[in-house]
């Protein structure tokens, strides 16, 4: 088996494509070790997407597991002409969108107010070092803003900023058209811009320092 590959956002996927395809071919024949290599290679990418979409660590872990299981069970549907990572993120994002919609329906049916982004960010679990970093002020504000977006918009924003995906790649991942993605991104940015106005719950002096810090 080849050496482990960690495929982080921004990595040149073309360079590792042949190894990935080799693992996919073996996994299709039932080789679980080959699929484990795929899991190790893409777990960070899938987990980050799920975490950003769902805003909660435990649920993100569960969604990541579910995404990989679905990928394994439907591996024969993967078109090798496409990027495996895009296909995998497509499964994960659709699954997260479904979860968010079910979550919303559950809240509505219980007739309870929607929890704020801060409520979602708070977890009773002990934070890992990575999570401690994430809970920096900027990370918390970004997550708070993301939580304000509808699931479809949130997916487009995460793929754009965290994965540096083009309109075409986002459209392919979310199985829609480029114009729909452009529209979602624009509306998402407008919504986020409204949240950043002085009347927003985020203190303006902190926001200014964060924006200047970039």
């Amino acid at each position: 088996m080849s050496a482990l590959l960690i495929v982080l956002p921004g990595a040149n996927v073309a360079e590792v494509d042949s190894t990935i395809l080799e693992w996919v071919a073996l996994a299709r024949q039932g080789d679980q070790d080959a699929f484990a290599e795929l899991v190790y290679s893409f777990q960070d990418a899938v987990y980050n997407l799920c975490y950003r979409m769902l805003g909660e660590r435990t649920e993100a872990e569960d969604a990541t597991q579910e995404a990989f299981l679905r990928a394994y069970l439907h591996l024969n549907r993967y078109d090798t002409a496409r990027s495996f990572k895009t296909w995998l993120l497509s499964i994960a994002s659709n699954h997260c969108i479904d979860r968010l919609r079910k979550r919303r329906m559950k809240w509505m049916s219980l007739d309870e107010p929607l929890p704020s982004g801060n409520a979602l960010a708070i977890s009773s679990d002990e934070p890992t070092p990575e999570e401690a970093t994430l809970k920096s002020e900027r990370g918390a504000i970004i997550q708070h803003l993301l939580d304000e977006l509808p699931p479809d918009y949130r997916a487009a924003v995460v793929l754009r900023y965290w994965y540096d995906y083009s309109y075409t790649e986002i459209a392919e991942t979310l199985e829609t058209t480029e114009s729909a993605i452009k529209s979602r991104l624009f509306r998402a940015r407008q919504t986020l811009a409204d949240k950043l106005r002085p009347s927003s719950p985020i203190p303006s002096d902190r926001m200014t320092s964060l924006l200047e810090g970039n």
Partner: protein, 194 residues
Amino acid sequence: MTELLQRMMQEQLDGVLADEQVSELYQRLNEDEDAAAQFARLGQVDRLMSNPPFARAPQRLAATIMARLAQTVQQQTETEDMPDEVRQALHMSVSLVILAMTPMMVAASWMVLNARYNPKLLTRVLERTIALMVMMIQALIFLLEETEQMARRHPDKAALAFSLIPVVLMGMLEYVYGTQNNGEAGVKAPEWVM
């Protein structure tokens, strides 16, 4: 603000606006204060979201995924290992059970409709019907699980065991309607059900 201006602002933020359109965009923004303010706010969002922190997967996640995968694959293999005759018997018995339960559902609706003008009776009929249906469904799940286990141990007897499920269900159905017809004066299951 025009759709074209929105598109240009969006593409400029994403770095894909054609060079010849960049100057046109800034010219338009100079002429439109609202649009310029909007573009400034969108730019703030873009700067805030650029190079965001990346969440790394917990160490144990891959191992958990592979454990769940192994379990799923094993369950699939067990089902696939069943002889064809057993699987056919299972499908057949499930179909027969659904057929057997259909009149029960219709009868339940019939009784509810007949009791609709008497609130007290309607409440009792609903409670009884729901309780009986829950009992039937739980019994069905139990029967299917037990029979499936037996089919794995003794594949030769599986077809017989599965074929008995609808018979057992019909027996239960007969008992249920007997109880229903004796217990609820004025609300009887239609005769054509049994």
